[in-house]
Structures are given as structure tokens and as C-alpha cells.
């Protein structure tokens, strides 16, 4: 059996007393593209943030390439800050609000992690960043600041920033919901390209058509649990659970 690149086991997460994730199990093999769908508040964002260790969790394990991240051992002991920082670089995250660094050019946004985390020399970092910015169609905007770019362009730079770190898994959280409708496709196309090239991806999306086309598997989350999981054809055409059927109907797929 191949070892999964990302493995989530029995993940529980509470905000104060409210349990938001109630035992999530999920595993991705290298090259898998998995979409998470589900109604608002079902815990999709929280799940992704746990994988990137932007949230603490109380029970369960997350392994990336066999390495337990954030915590260690059966006692669920939190790891050191510096170790967490290193492990975070194993996943790349793209946010709904882009979160580009506004005081840096597009190029510098991408090279920052390469030079400071991977300790690459500047020329090497610039070359890699240039390559990825070209891949997302932004090579003529390298010297622009985020304030000079449209939302779609910013999001493409943000994707370049994440993939340039050569992460084992890419996480996308509703990366098109802050965009004007006419800018959505330029971003989705970039993601589709990356998926076709075999990048491992876990993405949360409300774009059902996109999820259908791009995913190997789709996961339906409901109230902090994975309610249903399977290939897109099965999940979208023949939903087993009542709730998924209702959700699909309401999201006009």
C-alpha cells in the first residue's frame, strides 16, 4: 500500500465549548485532488486551517508524508514554534482574501519564503519566482505592488507564492469567492493547470461545476463531520444522503 501524503485521523476541534470538527478522517495520496463542499459553518475552513496549523486542535492526528505535524506522541504534545514553522512550509495555503504583503512587489512576495525559509540565494529565488509568476500569467507584473493589481491577478500571485515553496500539499480555501464574477475563471484555470500536472490538492469551493471537473474525489461536510465521500460522478449524480441531495439542489448544480 502506498503511504498517503496527507492523512487526517479522528480530528476534533473546539472553539471554547463548541465542537466544530467532530472526528474527521481523510487521506490523500500524491497527485490526488480532493474538493470539500458543504454548507456554511460546516467546518471546511477550520479543517484546512488545522492542516496548515493556523488552528490548534485537541484530539486526533494529522500526518504529512508520514510525519505528525503540530503535535507529537500519544500525549498530543505541542511542538516547538520553530518546528511548526518548518512543518507549515510542507503545505501551501491560498486564502479567500489573497493576503498578499502590500509593501512588497509581486516578485518579492514570492521570493520571501524562498530566501528566508529555504535560505536560497537571491538569484536562485528570483529565477524560481519568475518561473512560477510566468506560469500563472503574471510575468509582466513582477514589479507591481498588490495595490496595483486586480483581485484575480492578486490571487494568481498568491498561488505562485504558495506553490513556489514546493509544498507537498496545496490547500485552497474558497479562493474565488472574493472575486468579481468575470475574474473567477482566470484563477480557476490556473488551479486546473496545476491539478493536471499532478499537484496534490485539498480545496474548499462553492463552484460545483469546477469541483466536478477538477476533482478525483469530493467530500461533503456537514456539521463538523464528513457525511459522504466519493468520485464526483457518484457524489453529484447519485447522492446517498438526504442532506447532500438537499445541499446540491440548493446550490443549483
Amino acid at each position: 500500500m502506498v503511504q498517503p501524503i496527507l492523512q487526517i485521523e479522528n480530528l476534533h476541534k473546539k472553539f471554547k465549548d463548541v465542537e466544530v470538527l467532530k472526528g474527521v478522517d481523510l487521506s490523500l495520496e500524491t497527485g490526488d485532488v480532493v474538493s470539500i463542499i458543504g454548507s456554511s459553518g460546516s467546518g471546511k475552513t477550520t479543517l484546512l486551517r488545522c492542516v496548515n496549523m493556523l488552528e490548534e486542535f485537541h484530539q486526533g492526528r494529522i500526518l504529512i508524508d508520514g510525519e505528525e505535524i503540530g503535535y507529537s506522541g500519544p500525549r498530543h504534545k505541542a511542538r516547538k514554534e520553530s518546528e511548526i514553522a518548518r512543518q507549515r512550509a510542507m503545505t501551501g495555503m491560498v486564502f479567500q482574501q489573497f493576503n498578499l504583503f502590500p509593501h512588497m512587489t509581486a516578485l518579492r512576495n514570492v521570493t520571501l519564503g524562498l530566501t528566508k525559509v529555504k535560505k536560497m540565494p537571491a538569484e536562485e529565488a528570483n529565477a524560481i519566482a519568475g518561473k512560477w509568476l510566468a506560469r500563472v500569467g503574471m510575468s509582466d507584473r513582477c514589479d507591481h505592488h498588490p495595490g496595483q493589481l486586480s483581485g484575480g491577478q492578486q490571487q494568481r500571485v498568491a498561488i505562485a507564492r504558495a506553490v513556489a515553496m514546493n509544498p507537498k500539499v496545496m490547500l485552497f480555501d474558497e479562493v474565488t469567492s472574493a472575486l468579481d464574477p468575470e475574474l473567477v475563471n482566470e484563477v480557476l484555470n490556473v488551479i486546473k493547470d496545476l491539478a493536471n500536472e499532478g499537484m496534490t490538492m485539498l480545496l474548499v469551493t462553492h463552484e460545483m461545476k469546477f469541483a466536478f471537473e477538477v476533482s478525483d474525489r469530493v467530500v461533503f461536510m456537514n456539521q463538523g463531520r464528513i457525511e459522504e465521500e466519493g468520485p464526483p460522478e457518484e457524489l453529484f449524480r447519485k447522492p446517498k444522503s438526504q442532506r447532500l441531495a438537499e445541499f446540491l439542489k440548493s446550490s443549483k448544480f
Partner: protein, 221 residues
Amino acid sequence: MVEPGTFLYELWVSRWAILDGFGTTVLVSMLAIVLGTILGTLVGLVLVYGGWVSRFLVRIYVDFVRGTPVFVLVLASFYLLSQIGIQLTAFQAGLFALVVFCSTHVGENLRGALQSLPRGQTEAAKAIGLTFPQIFVYVLAPQALRQALPAWINTATEMVKASTLLSVIGVAELLLVSRQIISRNFMSLEFYFFAGLIYFLIDYAIERAGKAVERRVALPS
């Protein structure tokens, strides 16, 4: 040409005293701004990143100092520090008060700037694997400093104005020197006006220079 008894004559006679006073004003203001900014940076950092005990103590310090008029700070530090065994000259005592005053303004300003940065900035920086010191240096500080700059320039002009209060405890800065000259030649209109004009020019220059720096570091959009 310049007869005794005219303003220009009197100005020429007291040129060295005025220059001295001007020098003292510039020196005390600059020291207050520099030292106050250093201390204030610490204050701001503790207010944002400190543990709750240190945050609480610094909060009390800031609120207490900001609730007290600068003039009272100057007088209190002049009379009080010697009383508790710290022997300082009037210059040093006055400077101490100004530094304390400046530090609370800088600290609050920095705190506001740091806390106004969107959380997504820290999260995006974490996501690419930066450690906290790196996040602070490369992502948070450059943005916070840009945001704090206008208020910091304002604080700097405030410090120049507040330096006049040192005249009351006998520091021979520009205002006290002017008053001494006036007590000799009774040209109060001319010399108060002249002193006011110098202060105006200093503050105006700071403001202009500040605006120029603001434009230079402004992000293109």
C-alpha cells in the same frame, strides 16, 4: 544704519545667547524624540505582545502619563527626582519628563498600527513557513511603521513645542533666553514674536520633511 534701540540691533547684540537657546531647544527636542521613540517602541511591543502582567503594568504607565499634563510631568520630575535621591540638572530632569511623555505617544501609536494590520498578513506569512521574528521583521513592522509615520511626525512637532515648558524650570532654551532678553530691553512684542516664528519654522520644517518621507515610502496603487 542699525541704530541702538531697534529690534535688529537688539537681535544682533543677543545673537549668541539666542543661538545658544536655539541649540538647546534643538538638542533637547531631538534627544526627547530619539530616546522617547526607543522607549516608546518597547512600550508598544509590550502592549501588543507582552504577557498579561507586563501588559497591565505598561498600560497603567501609559494611561497615567497620558492623563497628566506635560507641564505637570516636567515640574514633578524637576522637584521630585532629586527628592528620591536622583540628582539631575534641570536639563536632565526636563528631558526625562519629555522622554516619558514621548514614549507613551509613540507606544500607543505603534500599538494601534500593529493591531490594525489584518490577521491574514500574519497567517499568510506563517503559511509559507516564516517564524515569528521573521514575520515581525519582514511583514508586520514595515507595514506598521508606514502606518504610524504620520502620527509619529505629529509627536515630533509636539515634542518641540513641549520643550518650551523647560523654560519654567530654568533650562536656558529658546523661550527662556527670549524672556531674559525681554527683561533687559522690554521688547516683548518683537522677541516673543521672533521666538514664536522660530518654533513655527522648526515645526513647519519637520512637518514638510515628514510629508516628503511619507510620499517616498507610500505604496504604489
